[in-house]
């Protein structure tokens, strides 16, 4: 039972970040590694609430008070089990989640919330270090097959759940490496890619197949895909950019944030950066006041930009809020990311009415006539939903407002493509949800013959994949569902 007085005697503290000078000099993780000792003492602040609002605040329903208690009493391995029971990829959320759980924490009402996210990270970090994160292949194969389109956190979570349930799962990804936005969307200083890779290794060892470079809809006919698999999970994200419709948008040196970020991330990964602009030595203006703009800011600083201005059209949110009014919901307050300590300046109530320049961008102009000089302008004003893609009509999926609304019985959509551009944690949760739905469907159909999946193309190499029994009822493939 929790330490009843922990929160009264211990103040909130997190491991924090590397020194600014050191971290802007490289693309490595900006955060200091998690500190197990600190996590242990911070976990003692948890009150083991009768109604754990943190858990209901966490989209995954993580059993936060349980693992807090386990960490407090040094039972890390059990903590890791308990954590992984609800969260496939705690290393992602532990690093990148905005932690709505902490906003919901009862202590947030009139005190500082428990450092839930840091504890989560400490647990998974320790689990990897100790080798507790091992493949958990299914005990028995079901003989059912599932295709997952998209390898972002939603697709990965669904794939892992379904694989562990004994289904044969193939993940199709149009990019050259799996991971979705984790791979090339989110900068390395927030998420080092080996974290993604080691998780993928676990998944492959469990038997999940990855087919990269396969753009479903273009390279693979969705109709055929549906015919081949017992179920399809659609997790294609919501990467359609919102764009700016102002004079000068097409000037040179004005770029959407994602191509910029993706290119720079690819460059960091040692791959061709494509047509991504470089911020090095330039005066950079990032239009937008959200997470993507912050990532652009951080990336630009690391590239060695001369100046970076982050320009938002809205009001500056209040710095303080009254939790009595908002708790346990996510309060609207000024959020500053670690990159904001690193440099750059933030501008509020600046509505860009024009981008000016002479072939090349020179400045941006606001509604009040003021200007900011710029050599590179990155447009990071949000996402508007799924990209136009033949995969949707091909799968008979209905799209409204840029989101998937309505799928056929054997297609299950998950992640940003359903929710709109959202979060990793919601993507994982939704992927798990979709996996459950698919499971239910597969179970309901378990009396029908199956095994229509035949190996189509070469499987991306999965080292150490245990050799698996061939699909037991391959011979029954004649029966058709369509």
């Amino acid at each position: 039972m929790a330490d009843p007085r922990g929160f009264l005697t211990i103040a909130r503290r997190t491991a924090g970040y590397r020194p600014v000078l050191a971290r802007v000099a490289d693309h490595r993780d900006q955060a200091l590694p998690p500190d197990p000792g600190l996590a242990g003492s911070q976990a003692a602040r948890c009150m083991d609430c009768g109604v754990p609002f943190c858990t209901s605040g966490c989209p995954l329903g993580n059993l936060i008070p349980d693992w807090n208690e386990l960490v407090r009493t040094g039972r890390w391995r059990e903590a890791s089990d308990r954590l992984h029971a609800t969260n496939n990829f705690p290393e992602l959320t532990g690093k990148l989640c905005p932690a709505p759980c902490e906003a919901s924490c009862v202590l947030a009402l009139n005190d500082d919330p428990v450092t839930i996210k840091a504890i989560e990270l400490a647990i998974v970090d320790r689990a990897f270090a100790e080798g507790w994160v091992r493949p958990q292949p299914a005990a028995a194969a079901t003989g059912r097959s599932v295709a997952v389109i998209g390898s972002g956190p939603a697709g990965l979570a669904a794939a892992q759940q379904l694989t562990r349930a004994g289904h044969e799962v193939t993940v199709f990804e149009r990019d050259d490496a799996p991971g979705g936005l984790l791979r090339y969307g989110i900068p390395d200083f927030k998420l080092e890619k080996q974290l993604v890779d080691r998780r993928l290794e676990q998944m492959m060892a469990e038997g999940t197949r990855f087919e990269t470079g396969v753009d479903v809809g273009a390279a693979l006919d969705p109709i055929e895909l549906r015919a081949l698999f017992d179920a399809v999970v659609l997790a294609t994200g919501a990467q359609r950019h919102r764009d700016l419709d102002v004079p000068g948008r097409d000037l040179d040196g004005v770029q959407l944030a994602m191509p910029y970020l993706t290119g720079r991330n690819r460059a960091v990964a040692g791959r061709p950066a494509g047509d991504a602009a470089s911020a090095a030595g330039r005066r950079v203006v990032v239009l937008g006041g959200g997470d993507t703009s912050a990532d652009c800011l951080g990336n630009a600083l690391r590239e060695g930009a001369a100046e970076v201005h982050e320009v938002a059209h809205g009001e500056m949110p209040p710095r303080e809020h009254d939790p009595q009014q908002t708790w346990p919901a996510w309060p609207r307050v000024l959020r500053s990311h670690p990159v904001h300590q690193e440099g750059g300046s933030r501008h509020w109530r600046f509505e860009t009415v024009a981008i000016e320049g002479d072939g090349r961008v020179q400045r941006v102009r606001g509604q009040d006539g003021s200007t900011i000089d710029a050599e590179l302008v990155l447009v990071a004003i949000g996402f508007s939903g799924v990209e136009p893609d033949p995969v949707y009509p091909g799968l008979e999926v209905r799209i409204e407002d840029g989101r998937v609304r309505g799928t056929p019985d054997d297609v299950f959509a998950a992640g940003d493509c359903v929710l709109g551009a959202d979060l990793i944690v919601t993507a994982i949760a939704d992927g798990r949800r979709a996996a459950r739905d698919a499971e239910r469907r597969l179970a309901a159909r378990s009396t029908e013959p199956s095994g229509r999946w035949r190996r189509q193309s070469s499987v991306s190499q999965a080292s150490g994949v245990p050799s698996r029994r061939p699909s037991s009822s391959a011979s029954c493939s004649s029966s058709s569902q369509l």
Binding site: P4, G50, V51, S56, L63, D111, P328
Partner: protein
């Protein structure tokens, strides 16, 4: 149908026994007995008809002269000589034809038994002298004369017994109800006159009782107070042998065991006649009737009356009991093998017509005083001074102590005290040797480590038995702390039947608990009467007395560790058989029942084959075998063997993986197991852990027993003290016969599918142990009504004043409740066409029916407490102080008109802060009998919560922990409650009196009793009510949903025409307008809410209220956390206004213009859906409720009004006044009314000392000087009855009793906060219990003196009883010639009186005592001067010492720099 069950009826009373030591039969004795009966009238009761009593009666020897005379004149001829004829007093049907048949039956059976019926005579009666209700039920009373034709006198008594029993059985077989036809006595030695009468009506109804020829050397009289009004004539006492004041709590078990052992009974005296007596006691009889029956059997079977009573109602003897003689202990121990105690409060007066025997239960829970006069009259009675004996003629006066006996034998002219009687009994046989030679003790050796269970199997077993993480944590906590974990707030999860999770069978059972009609016990502080000791094996012949009858295995407690279990299994001298209780769950739907049948057959075979110990074991659970739920297996085998007549031949031991919590063990014991080996719960614990875990279970079991007022696990065994909620009729009648289960529910196939489900999971791929979520919300765990959605919506609603958010809250909660609560299954139907909102009773009127629940300042912060009070005052509802007192400053409005006063003032068992001023400052006084979250339990406010402010209000020391005892020490029975109500009314006549009860089977009957005791208002609390701190097991396992309790109360009150006397309030988990509406329809007039308004004020259901760390500043006294409190009265006001608006809307929809239009109209409800087979039709019986019923008008007794009149000038001007008067025992609560008058005018400060002085002579009634404040002095020349100085708050009470004798009754100074009490002579049990400020001197006292004392000073100049200073945490006591063995040293130490301050105190008190009482003892001690001090000891509480030392250091530090 309905919910009422006559088995729930309770009764209590006053009784008296008189005997002449010269053995002469005279009429004066009978007259005195009738006088005594009249003087005990206040202990009886009347129901709706004020002229119909609950019963009164008298037992006498046969008045030979009178009988001879009437025989001659009415029947003709001469009666045989005394002893050669017997007389039956018979209630007969009024219908002549039926009567004739009954009479013929009697005559025929007499002849068949070899004796001759001489004739019948009508007993003259005067129906015009009794109440109409009594008259309508009145039987025809006749006497039957029987001539002895053969055998000796004892043989004739036996024959008459056989005749009576045969007649009764034949009548029962013919379907004649006992109320119509019954022998109220048939004997050649005794006769009984009784009826549904008031005490004063007995002689009027039976005029021959006043005939000078009606003579007897002894008599027993009894005046009854029953919870039911629909009493019948046969239920009056005395029975054939005895009169009983109290209640046998274990009666179910005692009755079952009695019938179980019938096949084993054999008696040379009865011979073959024995068979004719069976069943010895009818299952439907009252506890007293059954006790009478078994007493009769034992006595006629050859034992003396004292012997029989000593067996049935033994004193505490197991663990070291100070002063208990070894031989007597052996006597008890031997007889414990023959019969389990008939346990519960009991003052017994019994007579076989020759001796008069008085006996008191082990805990001394009823008063029994005796007196002997110079001319040889002995009077034993509930009160002293009832028989009008001249005080000057009294040569001896005393009391019967706990577990003691007094035997008066007119034949030999002797009075024998307890010691003498018991020693004589003990020396009858060489019991010690018999025990040594026959009884086997399982060694208490160091436990070997049991063979460990492999990890994988452990996980699978845990999964198969449905363990949860939470339960494992509970086991772990028990294994580390040796106690059961504590929690807070109510249980807001669905009943087991409605849960979505696989719930164990045990979750369908609820513990019973004692309320009002008998007291729960404090198993911790009164451990000396409690015992876990258990013996296992065949039960001996009750009628025999052979060495081999005690051939049993004895264990220190019923939970066996591995070592003890192994020893048991290997016992060589006993035939032990192990029966596996596993089966193949895949073998079809009826596999479980077939397995149970097989098991029962195997058990029969084993027992008839000679096994005396049968072990039921589920060790063999594996992938192919699941366990029959241990509870089901045990109950099935137990009831099967009972039915087969084989039960007494063996002891049942359960070896199971299933039991883990104490409730699980209690169930196994309650359904027949003698011992349990919980191998799975023990697995994984180390030796120390196992020891502590078993220790914790032991404490838990004692707590469960003590909740019901039961002291010994041995009598708990098989007593079935549970009610089932959600078990179907077939399951219950087959396996749990006799268990109350009133709303239907699951059947065996449901149980079997749960087993199969768990088994499949456990032996599948992923043997899970779920979290559970029973105690704390978890995704996937149990559902809770308070979840983030409901909490946040409600808080939004009240903070933003958002009706929409409130609606979302209410809709969400109701939707969830639809599948999670009883009320959710009930849908109200319309009264008429829908009404516009404007036509419905306004909110302003509805909110008057709302109250915030009792929450003590102490459990919640002053900020939260005042917020609730302000809010309730603002809307015109009422708030409740809870049990911790209230600062009088809060009764003065703030300048802006804000009033922080609580309109309801609670009077709870701790009596903290209950002074006269507190009482007069109440609109309603609420006597808290029980609380939903922990019925039958007391409470504890740990020292760290007792800050200066709380200590001030509670009259205690900061930092010193405070205990609220489980019972009110002045309410051990219903007549005691009536007395407390009388006390409170005297002090505070304007206040309504409310009594708070908790729903359980039988609460309706108790409510009726409470109504009869004079309450205006009754609260029925649901089991799910909140709490500041309770053991988790109590939060979960005791009490019922209020729906059941409320419906039952409504039905029983209506049936007894008592509904108009009380308003009903309901509480426990009320949250929404719909809840209010359904409660109203089920009978509630008013509604109380605790948790919901707390949530409105910011509570987030943290459930750490008990830890003082509430993060929102509600349930905490920590100043830092209190600052975090963000609730406001507006929040609470809005909650109640939203609620009222919602109720209006619902009423409008139903077409009801006012809430009163639906109150009690259960027929408006319809059950929607029957999940799990639930059937609520019993709740929906229409109970018209309002009906004719005499409105009860209480008036202050004349004597009190006179006192007030005489003191009137003083009350105004404080000019001293002296008033003299004579008093009798019937003058109760003398001084209380004056106390109220003083407090109303002068508050707690009172008048100058000595302003009003009452000088009384005679015998003081109960509650002499109750709540006397400063300025009131009462002096009595003579002894007094129970509760003198109760609640004394500054006044002085002086009792000049007979020196060296008993002067004052039990429970003096209960809850006193100040003042002085001087007693010349000694006092009874529990002297100065819960004293927190009074000073007292007494010359000796009974058991449990100074219990729970937290302040004040007590000087005892004589012997104390046992268990002195139990739970004492403050104040000081000084003992002359202290006996350490009689002190409970758990919380105190004895030290010499050395400090100058202490020395001065003792001397000063001696002087005061001498001055006020003229005590010779004080005079002698003072003559010795200071020298006498070496003979004194000081009793010093550890807690207090710690606090004082801390202060001393602090001062030293301060002084030093």
């Amino acid at each position: 149908m309905g919910l009422h069950d006559p088995r729930f009826a309770h009764a209590a009373c006053g009784l008296a026994g008189l005997a002449r030591l010269d053995g002469r039969a005279d009429h004066e004795l009978v007259e005195r007995a009738l006088l005594a009966l009249g003087n005990l009238e206040h202990r009886g009761a009347t129901g709706a008809d004020p002229d119909t009593g609950d019963g009164a009666g008298i037992l006498t020897a046969l008045p030979d002269g009178l009988l001879r005379r009437v025989y001659r004149s009415e029947i003709g001829g001469e009666l045989p000589p005394p002893g050669h004829y017997g007389v039956g007093m018979v209630f007969l049907p009024r219908d002549p034809a039926r009567r004739l048949r009954c009479e013929e039956l009697c005559v025929r059976i007499c002849a068949e038994e070899g004796h001759r019926a001489l004739g019948w005579r009508d007993v003259p009666v005067r129906p015009d002298r009794i109440g109409a209700l009594a008259r309508s039920a009145q039987p025809f009373v006749r006497q039957l004369f029987v001539e002895r034709r053969e055998g000796d006198a004892d043989g004739f008594e036996r024959a008459l017994y056989v005749i009576r029993r045969r007649v009764e059985l034949a009548a029962a077989a013919a379907g004649v109800p006992e109320a119509e036809f019954i022998f109220i006595s048939l004997s050649a030695r005794r006769m009984v006159h009784k009826g549904l009468l008031k005490a004063g009506q007995l002689a009027a109804f039976y005029p021959e009782l006043t005939d000078a020829g009606f003579t007897s050397p002894l008599a027993v009289v009894h005046s009854r107070f029953s919870t039911n009004t629909l009493g019948t004539w046969d239920l009056a006492h005395p029975f054939g042998f005895l009169a009983h004041n109290g209640e046998i709590n274990t009666v179910r078990g005692n009755g079952n065991w009695l019938s179980a052992r019938e096949p084993q009974l054999s008696s040379e005296l009865f011979g073959r006649d024995l068979q004719k007596l069976f069943p010895i006691a009818d299952e439907r009889w009252s506890d007293s009737a059954k006790l009478d029956a078994v007493t009769e059997l034992l006595v006629l079977g050859g034992r003396s009356l004292p012997h029989a009573l000593a067996m049935l109602v033994p004193a505490a003897w197991t663990d070291p009991t100070p002063g208990l003689n070894d031989e007597v202990r052996a006597f008890y121990e031997y007889h414990a093998a023959l019969v389990e105690p008939w346990d519960g409060p009991a003052a017994l007066l019994a007579s076989d017509g020759r001796q008069l025997v008085a006996a008191l239960d082990r805990n001394g829970l009823r008063p029994l005083r005796y007196e002997r006069s110079r001319d040889g009259l002995v009077v034993i009675a509930s009160e002293v001074g009832v028989a009008g004996v001249d005080r000057a003629a009294v040569v001896e006066s005393g009391r019967v102590g706990p577990g003691q006996m007094l035997v008066v034998d007119p034949g030999s002219g002797t009075v024998r005290g307890d010691r003498e009687v018991k020693l004589q009994l003990a020396r009858r046989r060489p019991y010690r040797r018999w025990l040594a030679e026959n009884k086997v003790f399982l060694e208490d050796t160091a436990p070997r480590d049991p063979a460990p269970i492999a990890d994988d199997r452990l996980r699978r077993l845990r999964s198969a038995f449905g363990y949860t993480e939470e339960e494992l944590a509970i086991v772990a906590e028990m294994a580390s702390s040796g106690g059961e974990p504590t929690g807070s707030m109510g249980d807001d999860t669905p009943p087991a039947a409605l849960s979505d999770r696989p719930r164990p069978l045990s979750a369908y059972f609820k513990q019973h608990f004692a309320q009002v009609t008998n007291p729960p016990i404090d198993s911790q502080r009164e451990a000396l009467v409690m015992t876990l000791r258990t013996s296992i094996g065949a039960i001996g012949n009750l009628l025999g007395e052979r060495p081999a009858d005690c051939r049993r295995v004895e264990v220190p407690g019923p939970v066996l560790d591995g070592e003890q279990f192994a020893q048991l299994r290997e016992l060589r001298d006993f035939q032990v058989e192990t029966l596996p209780t596993v089966y193949d769950p895949a073998a079809g739907a009826d596999a479980l029942e077939r397995a149970i049948d097989g098991l029962c057959r195997a058990a029969s075979r084993a027992v008839w084959g000679g096994s005396t110990i049968v072990i039921l074991s589920d060790r063999d659970v594996d992938a192919d075998h699941a366990a029959i739920p241990a509870l089901l297996a045990t109950a099935a085998v137990h009831s099967h063997l009972v039915r087969e007549g084989a039960r007494a031949r063996c002891g049942l031991v359960v070896e199971s993986g299933e039991p883990r919590e104490s409730m699980h063990h209690a169930l196994l014991l309650g359904y027949g197991a003698a011992a349990v080996h919980p191998y799975l719960a023990l697995a994984g614990l180390d030796a120390e852990g196992r020891r502590r875990y078993i220790g914790a279970l032991g404490k838990g079991l004692l707590k469960i027993c003590s909740k019901m007022g039961i002291s010994t696990v041995q009598s708990y065994r098989g007593a079935q003290i549970f009610e089932a909620v959600g078990l179907g009729p077939r399951l219950v009648s087959r396996y749990f016969p006799g268990t109350v289960s009133r709303i239907g529910g699951i059947e065996a196939d449901d149980v079997s599918s749960t087993v199969a489900l768990l088994h499949a999971r456990a032996f599948g791929d992923d043997p899970q142990v779920e979290h559970g979520g029973e105690y704390r919300l978890r995704p996937g765990g149990e559902r809770h009504a308070w979840d983030p959605d409901s909490i946040v919506r409600l808080q939004r609603a009240v903070r933003d004043d958002s009706a929409d958010s409130f609606r979302a809250y209410a809709d969400g909660v109701d939707a969830a409740a639809a599948t999670a609560t009883v009320r959710g299954l009930l849908e109200p139907g319309p009264v008429g066409p829908p009404l516009a909102l404007g036509a419905v009773e306004p909110s302003a009127s509805l909110v008057r029916r709302f109250a915030s629940g009792a929450m003590s300042l102490g459990s919640i912060s002053p900020e939260a407490h005042e917020t609730l009070a302000v809010a309730m005052n603002r809307i015109g509802g009422r708030s409740n102080t809870g049990e911790g007192g209230e600062d009088p400053a809060r009764s003065v409005p703030d300048p802006d008109g804000t009033l922080r006063r609580s309109a309801i003032k609670q009077v709870a068992s701790g009596r903290f802060g209950v002074t006269a001023a507190y009482l007069v400052d109440a609109d309603q006084l609420q006597i808290k009998i029980a609380q939903g979250a922990k019925p039958g339990e007391g409470g504890q406010l740990p020292g760290h919560k007792v800050d200066g402010r709380i200590a001030g209000l509670r009259h205690s020391t900061p930092g010193v922990g405070l205990i609220s005892p489980p019972p009110h020490h002045d309410i051990y029975s219903i007549e005691d409650l009536a007395q407390l109500i009388h006390d409170l009314r005297c002090v505070s006549p304007a206040a309504e009196i409310s009594v708070k009860l908790v729903a359980e089977a039988g609460v309706g009957t108790i409510t009726a009793g409470v109504a009869k005791a004079g309450a205006d208002h009754v609260v029925i609390s649901g089991h799910d009510g909140g709490t500041g701190a309770s053991p988790l097991s109590s939060i979960k396992h005791a009490g019922l949903p209020w729906e059941l309790g409320l419906a039952e109360a409504q039905q029983v009150l209506s049936a007894n025409a008592l509904r108009d006397r009380v308003r009903l309030q309901v509480d426990g988990g009320l949250r929404t307008p719909r809840d209010v509406l359904v409660a109203a329809i089920l009978g509630a007039d008013e509604f109380a809410f605790s948790t919901a308004p707390l949530v409105a004020a910011g509570c987030v259901m943290m459930r750490v209220c008990h830890l003082n760390t509430c993060p929102v500043g509600i349930a905490t006294q920590d100043p830092e956390l209190r600052r975090r409190f963000a609730g406001t009265p507006e929040h609470v006001v809005r909650y109640f206004l939203f609620l009222a608006e919602g109720v209006r809307e619902l009423l409008g929809e139903l077409g009801a213009a006012a809430l009163d239009d639906v109150v009690g109209r259960a027929e408006l409800l319809r059950q929607v859906g029957h999940p799990a087979g639930l059937d609520l039709s019993a709740l929906l019986e229409p109970a018209p409720g309002r009906g004719p019923g005499a409105a009860r008008g209480w008036v202050l007794p004349l004597a009190d009004r006179e006192l007030i009149a005489r003191a009137a000038p003083t009350l105004r001007t404080a000019t001293p006044v002296r008033i003299t008067a004579t008093v009798e025992n019937t003058h109760r609560s003398v001084g209380a009314a004056l106390a109220g008058e003083i407090a109303r005018r002068h508050g707690d400060a009172g008048l100058p000392a000595g302003a009003i002085r009452l000088e009384l002579r005679g015998v003081g009634g109960q509650s002499l000087g109750a709540f006397a404040p400063r300025g009131l002095e009462i002096e009595l020349d003579g002894p007094c009855n129970d509760h003198p100085g109760k609640g004394l708050c500054g006044g002085t009470v002086v009792i000049r009793g007979p020196e060296g004798q008993t002067a004052a009754g039990n429970t003096a100074l209960y809850g006193a906060t100040g003042g002085e009490l001087f007693v010349r002579g000694s006092a009874g049990e529990r002297f100065a219990v819960r004293n927190s400020g009074a000073t007292a001197v007494v010359e000796g006292c009974g058991d449990h003196g100074c219990e729970y004392m937290t302040g004040g000073t007590v000087l005892v100049l004589g012997t104390t009883g046992r268990n002195f200073a139990a739970g004492m945490s403050g104040g000081a006591a000084y003992l002359l010639n202290a006996d350490v063995a009689r002190c409970n040293l758990d919380t105190v130490a004895l030290e010499p009186v050395a400090e100058p301050a202490d020395r001065a105190t003792v001397l000063r008190l001696l002087e005061r005592h001498l001055d006020r009482t003229g005590s010779r003892l004080a005079a002698e001690l003072l003559e010795e001067g200071e020298a006498c001090l070496v003979r004194f000891h000081k009793v010093m509480p550890h807690d207090l010492r710690r606090v004082l030392e801390r202060e001393a250091t602090r001062e030293a530090v301060a002084a030093g720099g």
